[in-house]
């Protein structure tokens, strides 16, 4: 197990290195002068201000020095300064982080509860109407654009029924609609996988043995089939966290929910490159971390993985 963990940890290093290079070159790939682009939506800056910005961003140094400087900065939590708010990018991300984490966690709960229970019910009643209906709904679930589902929920539950506030993040009530929007979409993926995995598990010999022992059907399903079926589900749930994080980009801006996603969308619209770079790097590192954890948990649950 130790070797497996070590191997997985070491494999992450070149990826993070590559991610940092990709994000570093992002701004340099933008056609045209980065400084001019940064000021595209504002009044033209004076030549002195341009020179100052160029120096401040280190654009007057050789490229490898620029990269080194960039990495050193990141190691000290310095992601640069937002062009729009003039605040340090890192501080703004950290300030918004709790909101996004809360939203991701809440939607993950929605996704896992609805996804796994639907998948199990479908598998148990394979071929019956309840299985067919829930699987069609699951396909529909992966076909609905999240931002539209969000707007429709807003229309019904906030505008018409008045149950929840339209936007913001002041109370738990503000969390309900964005969390359900995000969670419902990924529950569809989890439900489909749980169903397939359950059907696979239900065909195994140990299920026949459990039934032969005289266990109740619920006991067989929950204690024997589900436990084994959950192994691949854990991985997909890990991957879903990444999906939820990036899904949150759009959903947060639909509900004007003050998280990292809404921050990113505003930064994109303003071409605030230091902010975009900071968020892209931050989310990619979190995503790599989450995937690593999912991999390790997978290895822990299924020893066969470790040795292959």
């Amino acid at each position: 197990m130790f070797r497996y963990i070590l191997y997985r940890l070491l494999a992450v290093i070149p990826v993070l290195f590559g991610v940092s290079i990709a994000v570093f070159f992002m701004v340099r790939l933008v056609p045209g002068d980065p400084i001019q682009i940064m000021f595209a939506n504002q009044a033209a800056p004076s030549p002195e201000r341009i020179a100052e910005m160029r120096h401040q961003l280190g654009l007057d140094l050789p490229i490898w020095k620029q990269y080194l400087q960039y990495i050193q900065g990141i190691a000290h939590g310095d992601f640069g300064q937002s062009i729009r708010s003039r605040q340090p990018v890192f501080d703004e991300i950290i300030e918004r982080l709790p909101n996004t984490l809360r939203l991701t966690a809440a939607s993950l709960v929605v996704a896992v509860v609805i996804g796994i229970s639907t998948g199990v019910i479908s598998a148990v009643f394979k071929g019956k109407w309840i299985d067919k209906v829930s699987m069609v709904i699951a396909i529909l679930g992966i076909s609905i654009p999240g931002f539209w589902l969000g707007l429709m929920m807003m229309l019904v539950f906030a505008v018409r029924l008045g149950w929840f506030p339209v936007s913001g993040a002041a109370t738990w009530k503000h969390l309900v609609m964005p969390a359900f929007t995000l969670g419902l979409l990924s529950s569809a993926v989890i439900a489909r996988l749980t169903r397939a995995s359950m059907l696979d598990a239900m065909n195994q010999d140990y299920i026949r043995t459990a039934r032969a022992k005289g266990l109740t059907e619920t006991g067989v399903v929950v204690r024997h089939a589900l436990r084994n079926a959950l192994v691949p589900v854990v991985t997909i749930v890990g991957l879903q966290i990444g999906g939820l994080l990036s899904g949150a980009f759009i959903i947060e801006s639909v509900f004007a929910y003050p998280g990292i996603g809404a921050l990113a969308v505003t930064a994109l619209q303003n071409r605030d490159f230091p902010m975009i770079q900071g968020i892209v790097l931050f989310v990619a590192v979190v995503y790599v971390g989450v995937n690593l954890i999912a991999d390790l948990v997978y290895g822990l649950l299924d020893p066969r993985i470790r040795y292959s």
Partner: protein, 305 residues
């Protein structure tokens, strides 16, 4: 099939036996797949939806009841009626006509971006899997780095670099989908290149290019087709999402995501402006997902009869 057993006199030269064999297998397999697909009701629903959309995309301009760009301020915010089936928007434009024109853009985003992703991904996967060694190492690390970004984030970052436009959205979504295809094809190649017929082709002196294109590629196409069909659905949704946040199609283009975005400000009273484009997107993605699912079941060798 008759060609394989009794070559017609017009055939200039007999084909090599292995090629005939693989063609015969491909043809009879595609027949099995078609039969299975036809018996899958949900997949047929998908096909009907896609055919309908393609019809609208081609003939939309001739069928649309109004000009999608014509602004008539006197007709602003009209609810669905006999004259405007889906109502009018904030500029008095007919929503149904805009949706019909928009179907072209959505289908194009789906098809163009998946073509970019599949072609580039497939090339990387083929070369990387077939030649192995350093090329494989390098390209796999490159793919690892791309996979470190959740797909929407990758598309967002690329659009940020290229600037907002529908063409850039297609490029961004296309690049974002490269890793999945590269991984898939590489896996296929790795298992196929150990097969006896590939060994035989190599032993008989066939060049790598010939082996890849006549033996490996045709045999790894089925999972690619499934992935592409499902990929078109998600590419259309991602493209619409980018337009929704203003990074894709620019006004007054009748793009579904952008239409939805302009409708959100009027959600309280004029619900139809944001509702219909979303419905159109859902139905489109649903069609491709149903077809993709049906294809997967039909092509799955484990369910072969």
């Amino acid at each position: 099939m008759s060609q394989a057993t009794a070559p017609s006199p017009t055939t200039p030269a007999p084909m090599p036996l292995d090629m005939l064999e693989s063609r015969r297998v491909v043809r009879s397999r595609s027949r099995v797949v078609l039969t299975r697909l036809r018996s899958n009701r949900l997949a047929l629903v998908g096909v009907v939806i896609i055919a309908f959309l393609a019809f609208i995309a081609v003939f939309g301009p001739a069928l649309a009841p109004h000009d999608p760009l014509e602004m008539t301020l006197a007709k602003q915010f009209m609810p669905p009626s006999r004259e405007h089936w889906m109502g009018t928007d904030d500029f008095g434009r007919d929503i149904l006509s805009r949706l019909m024109y928009g179907s072209r853009q959505s289908l194009m985003v789906g098809i163009v971006s998946i073509t970019i992703g599949a072609l580039v991904g497939m090339s990387i996967g083929l070369v990387s899997g077939y030649f192995g060694g350093r090329i494989d190492m390098a390209s796999q690390r490159f793919i690892d780095i791309m996979l470190a970004f959740p797909d929407l984030l990758l598309a967002l970052a690329i659009v940020a670099i290229l600037g907002p436009s529908l063409v850039n959205v297609m490029i961004a979504v296309g690049i974002g989908s490269i890793p999945v295809y590269a991984r898939l094809i590489r896996g296929q190649v790795l298992s196929l290149k150990e097969k006896e017929y590939v060994e035989a082709a190599r032993a008989s002196g066939a060049r790598p290019g010939r082996i890849i294109f006549t033996h490996i590629l045709p045999n790894s196409l089925s999972p690619l087709i499934v992935l592409a069909s499902l990929g078109i659905a998600s590419a259309i949704l991602t493209g619409a999402a980018l337009s929704f946040i203003g990074m894709g199609a620019q006004p007054p283009a009748p793009e579904w995501g952008a239409m939805l975005s302009s409708g959100r400000s009027y959600l309280r009273h004029e619900w139809w402006i944001a509702t219909f484009p979303g419905l159109a997107l859902t139905i489109t993605a649903f069609g491709f997902n149903l077809l993709g699912d049906g294809l997967r079941d039909a092509l799955d060798p484990r369910t072969q009869d």
